[in-house]
Point group: C2
Chain length 381, copies 2
């Protein structure tokens, strides 16, 4: 575990750093964006395409895969990598969040959580041990423990009780873990309460984990609140462990979090935005569906070198959206995921060259657009 | 035009032949299957993928593209090839068939046909000249003239009147055509009436066209009827002109038509079947959605060398179908189109080696399945 994470460069003017993770399926340079393949597929993209655009790690979800296709199938396939034809790394979320957000019924006890499947209503139980077992069958490179998730408006007592359970569940997860080729990150919970976050961090660190996940943020709270908690939490964490902010997603959010010292990100936003006709560009987001793009024969992002930007125009993709062609979602998802991967590569470079802060500032300024793009149908979402 | 079509080999035991077409965007070996990209996109597939699987020519539709995105856009893009990022050949259908099958209102006169758009109800007129103009803007390598299509149960008088119009419209199309880098095939119509088919063929040949299209078949009539008309029609056509059977689609149908002397095919079936979860294999069709494939880790077609069969299993695609992942449609469409392209390559080889008949027989026997596949969920559609 000694060489699991290595910091390659630190930004002298912020907590941003660049580093590398050594996982069983290869090296991952950080900061890193992990495309989300919840159900063993990143929506609309072949694993070949993910690899060609430079993806080194992607995310899948234990809750979803346990329910569908089911563990017997993944096991017989020889694990998730082989099942989905992906030879690089995978991080699996435990599905704690999904149990609490998707399942139509759930009953929490000390032992775990009993819930109904959101697909067919069948009854299941997740215990910390069960969730580790699932992820050992999946064979993900980085596993997450079962945790109890509460909303961002939860009361202190509620958050404290949930945290107590999360901590106890992590201890059992830690004990249950058997495979040596996987790592387990504790999830730092604690809701919106700094004191609980401190307690969670201390507990996590007492296990000397290879890395830490930050959970229960980016779930609807204000950006100021997110920043406040990160500002408080990150200094409590040792430098030498990678920090994974679960579910954070827009380019702007990532840059802010990198500055605060976060190393790993995942979000469905790039593919979901793609399916709704939205393209990320260095000059802001384009609602490619809108009329101004009808006759615009420039690439989605003139500064982008991805396959889509090299070969296709806004006018063509605008047409595909209106014709309801699947290819619109494919091209936009490809470009948006590439955009995020590339953004993280540029961040790594900027950190190495000691110019992260100016890089970030000019990037954000450019992303806010120069007015021209707004006229052209830019969404200010 | 002298070298437009060259026959490379003839089967001594049937009318099957293999040859090559010299088009402005490259050589096309026949018999050939042309994937359908009605709206300037083959559903679910990148042009890069079509090229890598060996597609030399694809189909698009003038009626559809005229309505959406509209000719101003295609013109400004520099033609259809550039608009859709396809550097090989394109055949465009005139859209006569679509006017008669999709438009909610149509009024036919000697001059042409007035119709309402099936998209927004707007009123448009197609004349033979207009349809040539549209296809000259599209810049397709092979154009089709406006024709009048009737159902397969049309009466003789109806078919005769429609044919009279189709012939007169072709004369005007022939005169209207200006570009030298495109060719125009007359469409042999005449409904289910041999006498009208003979008249249509004679008229078409009086123009010494580079090739001929056979229209008004595969529109619901019995297979015996199709065969009867082909049997009658093909001997009326000179050997040295390619014959394009419009809209014929299953692997079995193609083999039968090749035997009768047809050289070119198009159909939406491979992609449409893919989107419904159906895979073509040399041993028949697989309904991959069905339960027997849940734990089947073999490729869609064990005899296939396509990208999908090299990397993905039936179990994985079965999962994607049930999870409603777009990737299921993508993978199945890729495989099915590859299957058709590859089938035509094998046909070319069999004809060259003088063994088309045994090749066809063993292929059809294999396609009918060996019983085992039926148990595994094979559709006998």
């Amino acid at each position: 575990m000694e060489n699991f994470f290595q910091i390659l460069a630190r930004d002298p003017f912020s907590r941003a750093r660049s580093g590398k993770l050594e996982l069983s399926h290869g090296t991952v340079f950080t900061p890193v964006f992990m495309p989300v393949g919840t159900l063993a597929a990143v929506k609309g993209l072949l694993t070949e395409q993910l690899e060609e655009m430079g993806t080194d790690i992607l995310l899948a979800n234990a809750y979803h895969l346990y329910l569908r296709p089911g563990m017997d199938i993944i096991q017989k396939a020889g694990g998730l990598h082989r099942f989905m034809n992906w030879r690089k790394s995978v991080l699996t979320d435990s599905g704690g969040f999904q149990v609490f957000s998707l399942a139509p019924l759930r009953k929490i006890s000390e032992n775990g959580v009993v819930f109904r499947s959101h697909i067919d209503g069948s009854l299941h139980e997740f215990t910390p041990e069960k969730v580790i077992e699932i992820q050992e069958i999946l064979g993900s490179d980085i596993m997450m423990p079962l945790d109890e998730c509460i909303g961002h408006s939860g009361l202190y007592e509620e958050a404290e009780q949930a945290l107590r359970r999360t901590l106890s569940w992590f201890e059992r997860s830690y004990v249950a873990k058997k495979r040596e080729d996987q790592v387990l990150f504790p999830i730092v919970q604690g809701g919106m309460f700094l004191e609980l976050r401190r307690k969670a961090a201390a507990h996590a660190l007492s296990f000397d984990p290879p890395g830490l996940a930050i959970g229960g943020l980016s779930i609807g709270e204000s950006k100021e609140k997110t920043r406040e908690i990160l500002d408080f939490l990150i200094p409590l964490l040792p430098e030498n462990k990678p920090r994974y902010f679960m579910g954070l997603g827009t380019p702007e959010d990532l840059l802010e979090a990198v500055e605060q010292g976060v190393d790993m990100f995942d979000c469905v936003f790039p593919t979901r935005a793609g399916r709704t006709g939205l393209a990320f560009t260095k000059r802001g987001r384009l609602v490619v569906r809108n009329a101004p793009f009808r006759l615009d024969f420039s690439p989605l992002d003139p500064d982008c070198l991805c396959y889509v930007c090299k070969h296709y125009t806004r006018a063509y993709i605008h047409h595909l959206i209106h014709a309801r062609e699947m290819l619109a979602s494919i091209l936009l998802s490809y470009h948006n995921v590439y955009f995020m991967i590339q953004l993280m590569k540029e961040v790594q470079k900027a950190v190495k060259e000691g110019r992260f802060k100016p890089f970030k500032e000019s990037y954000l300024q450019s992303m806010r657009g120069d007015g021209r793009f707004e006229e052209m149908g830019l969404s200010e979402k």
